[in-house]
Symmetry: C3
Subunit: 319 residues, 3 copies
């Protein structure tokens, strides 16, 4: 594996998923000093804040024996993305230069860079991480970009597979209310990976929240949430902002919140969420504190998912 | 030891204090790769800035072989503490969820969370760290909460004991002027730990600065600073803001500043401060630069105190 | 070597430069657990943001086996520098106390502290880092101070020497336009180190941008950029703000930008820059993307430069 930007970077997704589960089941930690990452270095660049992704990735890298440096890029770092521009404005460094220099110091780079939610075309290009990948000499891990969140999706696939080893599960992606405009990456990435797993997802959301066809292709849309939930094995809850008009909160109707009454429509379905989750907005405490909710298990799986991805990337870096 | 939130978490405080001193006297560093923390991970969460506590704790953890991640939580992370609330306001995550997820990634968590100094009841509940402890599956170390600063207090006890191995010292806690409203945790925690050491402290402060009886019980109040200092073996300087009205600067009278003239009243007393210290406000340069001032020795002891606490906590975590 | 603040701290600069090149040529990494820094700790304090310096120094220190802690000091940490002052204003800690305490926790300290560009006299004193050095018990590495950037300069010397092993190169320091007022440290430090290498530099800049005689002594000024460039072997590009009036942008004339037309005047000269670089402001894309530009090689050399400096400092710290 050369980079980990989207599902398309993975030759055999099912194998990757199974590796994550196997690692989880082993319950062992690789000893750092003998790990396959020994003598290797990873840089994590956070243009947006992160708890789960930072902890799980940093821990996974160290478990493999890597040295890790995490940097909060905050507002102070604005990389120029446009080629050929006269850099007399805000940006002090061009991303192609940053990518080249960083490549000379470290062996793997992770980048988190959320969408603007204002400029739809720019967000769709996912320019920051894609430009970095183009100019870097080392593998890049997507820690959630404007478009995708593959570490989350690998975790999600592994968590679902761990519960449905034999059966193809009936999965529902159910939009949830939220007071703020949120990115689309988790939902889009979930559909991309589920598709690669050959799992058809039933998507349900209010008017105005359709996701781009690039991601929904091969899946199914059901506008009636209760119909969608009927007989579901897995209910994946997630808010995202509207695509058209772009980046808006069009609907906060609490009727879209997940409740035990609605979960009762499912086939004793499991409830998942990538977290952080707003309780009693996205789902009731009652749902989240019941046995059907496996979000903690899902969050814990993040570590194994990151470890498997890093192992794959390390295979393609020289020693 | 299961957690390290207050003196009450320690079965045998004197043994802990003696361990700190023994470690200091050894002058050795545990080799990380063979340390008792090898393969263990510690997360340090700073909701407020920290120099001594961060450095000493991080260094102690690494000396024991642990992997350490420090995160500045700043303003961007607001955890919901109230149970059952509809999370449609600022907080993006409930502390119970954060505590559960973090517990799945690391083996020990340290938290620094200062008081608001505005909402007395909330501060008194010490809700953030206490709620985290309640929901976490791993030990939690108090890196200074709204109410207590036990790592500082263990250091203080060890520093005093190192000078008074045989004798019960006469200790004075002397309020000092300060331009800003400061938390009460260091002073309160000092009284709690000194009490547990069976040391009666003489507290001296201006009107309006009485500390809660929970902490002053068993100690002695003397309003006249000069009387309090007479024949003292140890003078512990510390500013704190008022309790009633809450969180105010009621007095900045420089006559409460420590001077060599006042130190002359003591029994060749030692002068201590947890640092950072405002020179020529809390005490004169002359006092701080004289041999009686042992604040650097005290600050250095922070490392051994942290190491002993982590060793104790590691004993109670599985391998 | 006791500290690494300026070229004056280095007994034999040429040996240091050769060590950097040798290390680069070896292409090996010291194994951390057996490195000369094993059991040693380094603290990096950043009062200003840093990418190259932080990454290269942190990585170098870890490669030597050291434990490294990097702290963003941002706005929240203001150390009092003036001795004897009544600390009732903003600063919560005196630098002499911070230096003493930090010395008790770590073995080497790195500090980045840019100039104010407002108070010329204060900047010239380079008070923060110099006062810290005076009060610290451990070696201090200058990660770019108000006046100097010796890690950059050592890299620069090593990069030049690697290309001119036999010959004394003709070096031009060519001022470049920039929209913001930048510090003088890189340019001044470059002149200091080049002087110590016995290399006479031709400096070219517009009116009002003269550097202090302390640094220009032994070098040569040529106001006509094209004349200066003629037959040059090395062209070092750098913007700096004016010295008189202090800290201003007096000139943004794009005619000072480096172009291929101007590079053609040189003796197939190499183009260098410390980065980050504003493309099409400091130099055209055409120059920067041509083979003559060795700024990536120069940036990569930062790691070896840092490693050599740390090795030297470690020799002078006890075990």
């Amino acid at each position: 594996m050369k980079n980990f930007y989207s599902a398309a970077d993975v030759a055999d997704i099912e194998r990757l998923v199974d590796q994550v589960i196997a690692l989880k089941d082993q319950g062992l930690r690789t000893t750092a000093t003998q790990g396959p990452g020994s003598g290797k270095r990873m840089l994590l660049l956070f243009f947006n804040s992160s708890l789960r992704t930072r902890l799980s990735t940093e821990i996974a890298a160290r478990s493999l024996g890597m040295e890790v440096i995490s940097m909060d890029m905050g507002q102070s770092w604005k990389w120029e993305i446009t080629p050929g521009v006269v850099m007399s404005a805000d940006s002090a460094e061009h991303i192609r230069d940053a990518a080249q220099v960083i490549s000379s110091y470290v062996d793997i780079v992770g980048i988190r860079c959320f969408p603007t939610l204002q400029d739809r075309a720019a967000d769709k290009r996912d320019a920051l991480i894609k430009t970095f990948i183009r100019h870097a000499d080392v593998p890049v891990v997507n820690l959630e970009s404007a478009q995708l969140h593959p570490l989350q999706s690998l975790t999600d696939m592994a968590t679902i597979r761990a519960h449905f080893a034999e059966k193809v599960p009936r999965i529902v992606l159910s939009w949830a209310p939220h007071p703020k405009a949120l990115p689309h990456a988790v939902a889009q990435s979930f559909l991309q990976w589920a598709g690669a797993m050959q799992w058809q997802v039933t998507i349900t959301h209010p008017d105005g929240y359709a996701l781009p066809e690039d991601y929904t292709r091969g899946h199914h849309y059901e506008p009636d949430q209760r119909k969608a939930l009927t007989d579901a094995d897995v209910v994946y809850l997630k808010n995202w902002s509207s695509h058209d008009p772009y980046g808006q909160v069009l609907n906060t109707d609490p009727d879209w919140m997940m409740t035990t009454e609605k979960m009762a429509l499912t086939n004793q379905g499991l409830c998942m969420h990538c977290m952080p989750i707003r309780r009693n907005v996205v789902a009731t405490d009652e749902v989240l504190d019941s046995d059907c909710c496996i979000m903690y298990e899902q969050a814990a799986m993040r570590e194994q998912a990151a470890q498997v991805v890093l192992q794959e990337l390390l295979k393609d870096t020289g020693s």
